[in-house]
């Protein structure tokens, strides 16, 4: 499957465990399973949204895929090549093809380099162009992301958060990548600036046939940009579905809880019940059985002892839950009714939104 042409990135059973040590000899006493048996794929020109709460392993997952952290197990294939075996030239080519945009544009740009040098760094390092030609490329990129070419010699502190994020995007684009990992690219920005960046990312995707792995905790943003969406909880993928299906037919209790907690800007809507009680358990001591059972409102005995395996319920819709029947998939228990409520328009007293 990894050699098929229509899969750009394939992640198989990826694991990343961080050892927990104790005592003066740093004896390993246990491990934090930040990423645990994660599998998914991204096709060319596709955006996969990855949602989850803080600490669920989203960022670690992206770092392992980018080879910024060593995996504890599993494989990642990029265009059919095993990423963890790449060396030398082929690794360099991989690095050129996969770029990242970080969350905080205030710490991801070197304050001592000019904007021009920041964007040109990769172009020089990969020997794509030099001198005047290099400058020409950088100026073109600046204009492409909506900044003036005249900013070449200016420094990061002279720019606002939104402009800095554009600079970070120009840097990611400079090597003409196929996949860009966007790790919370709009979380640090104001709403009006957020719209600019989301629209820009959309345009670039179209113009360059880019693929994105789009990581965010904001369900509305993820739904807006993604073709498919995955939810992650305590290092595991709990559900993957096409964006339309994810919203209209969610199956995993965690997905339904997230959708229910997402507040729509429509007053008069009946207050949704708060489904999830308590906090995410400590990753040092993950619960046995299903990782989610301690917070799951419909958990049964089987969930407390046996870990669910991912099940494909329909084309491309994967869910990891004991209580979802493969043949007749429906949200478990009372969540089925709640799911219907998610789509009901605001009541009569409600306000028709813009």
């Amino acid at each position: 499957m990894n050699s098929t042409d229509n899969i750009l990135l394939e992640v198989r059973n990826l694991r990343k465990y961080f050892p927990v040590t104790s005592g003066i000899f740093s004896r390993v006493i246990s491990s934090v399973k930040a990423v645990d048996n994660v599998s998914f794929h991204i096709k060319p020109g596709e955006t996969l949204g990855l949602v989850g709460e803080s600490g669920c392993g989203k960022t670690t997952l992206s770092r392992v895929i980018l080879r910024l952290a060593e995996p504890s197990g599993g494989e990642v294939y990029f265009e059919g090549e095993d990423v963890f075996r790449l060396r030398g030239d082929r690794l360099r080519r991989f690095r050129k093809n996969v770029q990242i945009v970080f969350q905080d544009p205030y710490s991801s740009l070197n304050p001592r380099l000019s904007i021009g040098s920041i964007i040109a760094e990769g172009i020089g390092a990969h020997g794509i162009a030099r001198g005047g030609k290099k400058r020409e490329i950088v100026e073109g990129l600046l204009e492409r992301v909506g900044l003036s070419a005249g900013y070449y010699n200016r420094y990061p502190h002279e720019f606002s958060g939104g402009q800095r994020q554009r600079i970070a995007i120009a840097r990611a684009l400079s090597l003409n990548p196929k996949l860009i990992v966007c790790d919370e690219p709009v979380s640090a920005l104001d709403v009006s600036i957020q719209a600019q960046i989301l629209n820009l990312l959309g345009e670039l995707k179209r113009d360059f046939n880019l693929s994105y792995l789009f990581i965010s905790h904001d369900l509305a943003v993820v739904e807006h940009v993604s073709d498919r969406i995955a939810t992650m909880y305590m290092g595991e993928i709990t559900e993957i579905a096409g964006a339309g299906e994810f919203y209209s037919r969610p199956l995993h209790p965690y997905t339904i809880a997230l959708l229910s907690a997402n507040l729509l800007p429509e007053p008069g809507r009946k207050r949704r019940p708060v489904i999830l009680r308590g906090d995410v358990p400590s990753p040092l001591d993950p619960p046995p059985g299903c990782r989610f059972h301690t917070r799951c409102p419909v958990a049964e005995d089987v969930c407390r002892v046996k870990r669910p395996e991912p099940v494909e319920v329909s084309g491309g819709h994967m869910v990891r839950c004991h209580l979802v029947d493969r043949k007749d998939p429906a949200p478990p228990g009372f969540l089925a009714d709640l799911t219907l409520m998610l789509h009901k328009p605001a009541g009569e007293s409600g306000v028709k939104p813009l």
Partner: protein, 345 residues
């Protein structure tokens, strides 16, 4: 409905290297008893400074309140001696901040910090305060509160710390709770819990809440009235139904159409052109003019006052009698800078 707090023509100025910055410029707000007022705006628009002014907590220098009135139960808070103000803080008006991580002192236990508040404001002994602290922690949904009193902030999660902050703010039964972005730093599922908690405490004690946020979903689900703030002034004010159902200021309309909403994937996001102006040098006339689709001659010279459009619904725009969501839709349909998201078909 009884007006509990009335802010009129509040002005706050900060001295900066580039000159005086008007962080709050002529803000009028009212908070009714037992209701929630949502104060919405982007960073730097003056939301937090407005809140801090109510408690007279503006760091001075560089800041100073240069004008206006804040009437609480008939008394002007801005004219009170510091000693009286100390009694108002905590007892009558409390505040919770955005970052529960940085607003608790890391070297004291949760118990010591809550007890300090109770002992200071209610003149209780340490033992009495301890009992009260246990009860209030239980109230805000912290499991095994007696044990938790001995915890340090770093031993708690973000959601738990925000519960502790709420417990501290509520320990003296305030009439008004000022909540400055109380859930912004929290995950959505934790946010849902905290909002539910605030709502149930309001139902029980009948306190008023001034809820500052940039999240329109949070406002829609919590507030009865909404004020939209832009460039140090209120640009629109009304009931939550008025603001969400019939917005009349171009900034409000722009804000609402620039956020992605679940279930409306195909919709293009409107982009408010340009950037928020610098409070050291606001544009002349209407401050939203350089970014406004409807800007006209008049907007260059006259700053529009906050005027009533319909009963209780006010907007600060020369044309708010004619601009509404239908006019807006028509206008943005033809505007060339509106980048449509064709990727969704």
């Amino acid at each position: 409905m009884e007006t509990l707090l009335k802010i009129s023509n509040l002005k706050v100025c900060f001295d900066t290297d580039d000159g005086p910055a008007m962080a709050v410029d002529g803000v009028d707000l009212e908070i009714m008893k037992g209701t929630t007022l949502g104060l919405v705006g982007e960073s730097g628009c003056g939301k937090s400074v407005t809140c801090l002014s109510v408690l007279r907590l503006i760091p001075s220098p560089p800041g100073r309140i240069t004008g206006g009135e804040i009437l609480y139960k008939g008394r002007n808070l801005l004219a009170l001696p510091e000693k009286d103000m100390e009694r108002i803080r905590g007892n009558d008006i409390s505040m919770i901040f955005q970052e529960p991580m940085t607003s608790l002192n890391p070297v004291f236990t949760i118990g010591e910090q809550i007890k300090e508040v109770i002992m200071l404001h209610q003149h209780k002994t340490s033992a009495e305060a301890g009992e009260l602290a246990v009860r209030i922690l239980d109230k805000v949904g912290i499991p095994s509160p007696a044990i938790r009193l001995k915890s340090y902030p770093h031993q708690m999660s973000g959601g738990m710390k925000q519960r502790v902050m709420i417990a501290m703010a509520l320990s003296c039964n305030p009439e008004i709770l000022i909540a400055d972005e109380p859930t912004t730093a929290l995950d959505v599922t934790i946010q849902a819990q905290i909002l539910e908690l605030m709502q149930s405490l309001q139902d029980e004690y009948g306190m008023s809440i001034l809820l500052v946020t940039h999240d329109l979903g949070v406002v829609a689900s919590m507030a009865s009235h909404v004020a939209i703030m832009y460039a140090s002034s209120i640009v629109e004010y009304g009931s939550v139904e008025d603001i969400f159902g019939n917005p009349r200021h171009p900034y409000t309309l722009g804000l609402f159409t620039s956020i992605p909403v679940i279930g409306k994937r195909g919709r293009a996001l409107y982009v408010i052109p340009g950037n928020v102006p610098d409070p050291v040098s606001f544009p002349r006339g209407c401050r939203f003019r350089p970014r406004c689709l409807f800007a006209a001659e008049q907007c260059m010279t006259q700053k529009p006052p906050l005027r009533e459009i319909r009963h209780g619904h006010r907007a600060a725009c020369h044309f708010s009698q004619t601009i509404d969501k239908y006019v807006w839709k028509e206008k943005t349909k033809t505007a060339s800078f509106l980048i449509s998201d064709e990727q969704h078909g």
